[in-house]
């Protein structure tokens, strides 16, 4: 069965992301804490990869692979998979609760989850191994890996960065969620030499581009436009906590659930922004 690239509708993506932000808020009220801000920063990226780039056959199966290397952003992946019908709403409702299947970090073997992540710096190496296996086995598959900027401080990421082009691996697309925040503050202040980012990726033999990571069309177009003779690194500039004023760029929202009042405010802000 032939898998084809879906038609991408940026307006539909915007609607989905609005709904998913609210769904994540809804889940946040069932648990004492969750990684909300980092899920919000990569939501458009994850949605665009699944809905606009990963090829699907008539049964919805994709030859392509998605790895959320920044595993703490799992709520973005879970809600997208829920939207696609891969994860059941009942399972997402039991997120991090007894009897549920879905944990804070994605677990290999669960529906739609192709790697166990949560410890940073693992996903890219895995993805490159998959990509090379696909070359050996002559399989036409693309591997999408979403990383965080804080994660890219791990040396293992740079080992993998150096390795992919050296092995001639081209069928991999990495997207770095550059929200400029990590647990204890701003990446650009903690390790200012992380920037400029795209130049580093290019220096390691990757095709590299930087775009607005909250613009689904920009994410889509940057990946579609890749030359394909090298692995692609997309630096996606984003805002941690995007969409909720009190969460944006405030480190405590890395791992926290809003109280009922904050929850109502967040819903109101998201609705207002969507309808205006």
């Amino acid at each position: 069965m032939t898998a084809t690239k879906p038609q991408f509708d940026a307006a539909a993506s915007r609607t989905r992301c609005w709904q998913m932000r609210k769904r994540i808020l809804e889940i946040s009220q069932k648990v004492s804490a969750l990684h909300i801000a980092g899920a919000y920063s990569c939501l458009e990226i994850v949605d665009t990869i699944y809905h606009g780039l990963m090829r699907r056959d008539a049964d919805g199966n994709s030859p392509d692979t998605f790895i959320l290397s920044k595993g703490h952003g799992s709520m973005a992946q879970y809600t997208v998979l829920e939207n696609l019908g891969v994860i059941k709403p009942a399972d997402l409702n039991l997120y991090c609760q007894p009897g549920g299947k879905l944990a804070t970090h994605p677990d290999y073997g669960l529906p739609g989850i192709e790697a166990s992540t949560g410890s940073l710096g693992h996903g890219l190496g895995l993805g490159i191994g998959m990509a090379l296996a696909d070359n050996i086995q002559k399989q036409d598959r693309t591997i999408y890996v979403v990383l965080s900027d804080g994660e890219m401080e791990e040396g293992s990421v740079w080992e993998a960065m150096l390795l992919a082009p050296s092995l001639g691996v081209k069928n991999i697309v990495a997207v770095a969620d550059l929200n400029d925040f990590q647990s204890l503050g701003q990446t650009s202040k903690i390790l200012p030499n992380f920037y400029p980012f795209d130049e580093k990726a290019r220096a390691f033999g990757w095709e590299a581009v930087e775009i607005d990571g909250h613009n689904p069309q920009a994410v889509h177009d940057a990946i579609v436009a890749r030359k394909g003779d090298k692995p692609l690194m997309v630096g996606a500039r984003t805002i941690k906590g995007k969409g909720v004023s009190y969460m944006e760029n405030v480190p405590i929202w890395h791992y926290r659930s809003p109280n009922p009042q904050e929850y109502q405010q967040a819903i109101a802000e998201l609705d207002h922004a969507y309808h205006s």
């Binding site: 073997g109 399989q139 150096l162």
Partner: protein, 305 residues
């Protein structure tokens, strides 16, 4: 042992297109050339990057390949420990990590190259299996076993030039089973890995001094340990001696002591392990083992003091 591994891996790879070897700039020399010539796309050098080596192998395995990660034991296990734990063990992937130079065989290279706590560390990981063959024949059998193994495995090899010890062994090599490699009664010596050669020298010494026939066992599968088999040995013999090239902590010696307690063994039990120490002594492998107290004469004196 290194050459045996690459010779057998070539045969395995010939029969199974999913076999591949990923090295971190250390390669089994000599007989690997044939493999590399025939299967150039299934030999990958990731460079001096062990984290990438393990993660990359995990990715290959997730696509149905059967990868071998290969380098010096300390580098294969310690630098990428978390990749082994999360990528291989947590995801339970069929990747064999081949560690060359298990124990202190790289004597003069110093502590950076001594895998003297590797068994303890790997034993602690769920899903991990550990096989430490005692001679080239067991290395051959272990390599065939690894090719069919379903989860992660640590294959602890020596270096080169190890003698054949098991040509006339009463038992066959069977994964997960203590293997009698020399029949005897009254006293049994248990060992694994290349120090089994010294264990057999101790056997010869005891037989010479005390008479009788001393049994010897290769506990090649250190995890899962053949607990029932070892318990049986503890109950069958009057005197059981464990010789291992590993620190006491969580090695075969400590586990045998625990089993002896659990099964109410009445035998005398003597264990010889590496010291819990980085010994800055530079000489041959044998010289360094002697500094750790591992020498047939020294062990004999302790046993029969």
């Amino acid at each position: 042992m290194r050459d045996t591994f690459s010779r057998i891996l070539y045969q395995v790879a010939k029969a199974d297109p999913k076999i591949c070897i990923v090295v971190a700039d250390i390669s089994p020399a000599g007989s690997m050339n044939q493999y590399r010539q025939e299967f150039p796309d299934r030999f990958m050098n990731v460079g001096v990057a062990e984290q990438a080596m393990i993660g990359f192998c995990a990715g290959l395995a997730m696509r149905g390949m059967k990868p071998y990660a290969y380098t010096i034991a300390t580098f294969a296990l310690y630098r990428p420990f978390e990749q082994i734990r999360v990528d291989l063990c947590y995801q339970n992937l069929p990747v064999t990590v081949v560690g060359i130079g298990g124990g202190v065989v790289y004597s003069v290279l110093g502590g950076t190259h001594h895998a003297q706590e590797d068994i303890a560390i790997m034993s602690a990981l769920p899903n991990m299996s550990i096989v430490a063959p005692c001679d080239p024949l067991e290395a051959e059998a272990a390599t065939w076993v690894s090719a069919k193994h379903q989860g992660p495995m640590y294959l602890r090899l020596g270096k080169a030039g190890e003698p054949v010890l098991t040509a006339n062994a009463p038992d066959k090599f069977e994964f997960g089973k203590a293997r009698c490699i020399k029949a005897g009664s009254g006293t049994a010596v248990l060992s694994y890995g290349i120090i089994t050669k010294m264990a057999l020298e101790l056997v010869a010494k005891i037989e010479k001094e005390q008479g009788g026939q001393v049994a010897a066992y290769s506990i090649h599968t250190v995890k899962p340990l053949d607990q029932a088999g070892i318990a049986k040995i503890l109950q069958q013999y009057d005197r059981v001696i464990v010789v291992e090239e590993h620190s006491l902590q969580a090695g075969l010696a400590m586990q045998t002591r625990a089993l002896a307690f659990e099964c109410g063994a009445r035998c005398k039990l003597h264990t010889f392990s590496l010291q819990d120490e980085f010994i800055h002594f530079y000489g041959s492998h044998g010289d360094l083992l002697k500094q750790h107290g591992l020498h047939p004469e020294l062990m004999y004196q302790k046993i029969y003091a």
